[in-house]
Symmetry: C2
Amino acid sequence: MQGTESLRAVVEERISKLDYTIQPVNLYEPISYTLNNKGKRIRPILTLLACNMFSDKIEDAVNPAVGLEVFHNFTLLHDDIMDDAPVRRGEPTVHIKWNANTAILSGDTMMIEAYKLVYQAPDYCLRSVLELFSNVAVGVCEGQMYDMEFENRNDVTEQEYIKMITLKTSVLIAGALKIGALIGKANTEDAENIYHFGLNLGIAFQLLDDWLDVYSDPKVFGKKTGGDIVANKKTYMLISALANAKNKQLAELNGLLSKETFNEKEKITAVKNIYNNLNTGELTMNKAKEYSSKAFEYLNKIKVSEDKKQTLHDLGESLLNRIK
Amino acid sequence: MQGTESLRAVVEERISKLDYTIQPVNLYEPISYTLNNKGKRIRPILTLLACNMFSDKIEDAVNPAVGLEVFHNFTLLHDDIMDDAPVRRGEPTVHIKWNANTAILSGDTMMIEAYKLVYQAPDYCLRSVLELFSNVAVGVCEGQMYDMEFENRNDVTEQEYIKMITLKTSVLIAGALKIGALIGKANTEDAENIYHFGLNLGIAFQLLDDWLDVYSDPKVFGKKTGGDIVANKKTYMLISALANAKNKQLAELNGLLSKETFNEKEKITAVKNIYNNLNTGELTMNKAKEYSSKAFEYLNKIKVSEDKKQTLHDLGESLLNRIK
């Protein structure tokens, strides 16, 4: 079994060989820019880890793995236009550095490039990989649409929220793992189990992200807290608080959400106080733990030796241990 | 050999079975809206015609053919955002009827749906169809980027223009034909010849379109003339005139192009006068004829009986006979 860092090196090497120094420059430069703006490469690493769990030969999984990273970056590019986000990983987003039309068109090209890598999957699993990848890709689009719709709604249920983050975040994590398993010739049951490991892990990861926005230590986490609160983002925290607050507290929370001008620090403190009173942090964390336990149950079910699961287990743990 | 109308019915029937009455409605409704806004279905008909030229069995080509139509409609959706076009086929465009974010995301979903149809190609040609389709798709994106770049340039050469329309329009026509040929088990030489038939036909078609904007009879053609002139669109007509005009005439043309406020009718008349003096219409028409002759030469080379080529020949002729 190869470790995470060695697989990351494999991914980086393959990405470095994608040559986008071609014409028209305005189409391809944003693609290089996006792919070189170092992400964590979690999805392709998961593909390679999953493949390696069932097979010693990971070469056949490298192109599809990198295809998933290109696809993920395509979604960031288009999402950033839709959310009008100015910065991504500390750098200006493509629609800011270039313009929205370029971001649309370079994004479109990246999605095709993603397919070109994904369909390098071997013959024995080509159709199932294409089908899985396409379903995942459509799911991500559906998730983004729900996310945008939720912005204008104050009655989003927990169930709807979980469905949205499942589509927007988890199906790609789950799909990355299952594609690796299929290329590694896992049997149907194991492939399903690794898919559901990823699906639940992804949900736990997102719930934790929602918690971290409120309670993380900015010194350790390196990110300003309260951003979701300022933006009225429909996180699990807010949805849970809206569901549990009553009377005066609910009125106060709704008041904070509807105010158009406010002092950011004061708003964060006030909303945080309500969260503290309603135990929202603990409820969110418990929900995250529920999904992470479910994730590891699915990992346990996979019929390979424990040592082969260790790296994936550790990676899963590390994604969920960002609190410290 | 099936005729064009019978193949159009096959295409329409398959499109009518694509079920996009699903959730989230805001994602899928624009897709139905776009696909039901009856286009001419030229690309899928070309795929089926090409397949039928080499095989009596066209069933295997239906899904990929419709995939090309879905892809074509995806490009219209995204192009209309980029060009800020309010109307398409007499109906409001998606980014106007809904909004730009919806048009981006529904377009993305359509591209995935296109792949899902294209990869239904049979095993014996799956990889070559995927490769061809992806190269075509990337080419179309490159063409759109060049087209946008040309808007801000006054030194576009004829050669650059031909390259742009080849990418933006012709590669998809050519690819539609070749995909049909591959599914119909054409040999490599015939598949290449049908590709180049489409490539040259597409260029001739676009050049004729440029001519029609200036010289067509609106009563017959059903479209207002001079739209390209008003918008300073870099058509072959304008590029040719800019290349051939000298001294006072060149200054007059550049003056007309740079005026920010003008009477539309006067501008059309003035530019048309310059075109008349420079013989621009004839030069453009000759260029179109050059490419259409080349197209039919490639069609002639294909090693099937003449009667099998007739429908495609007639369709090609009809696309080029829109003058009357």
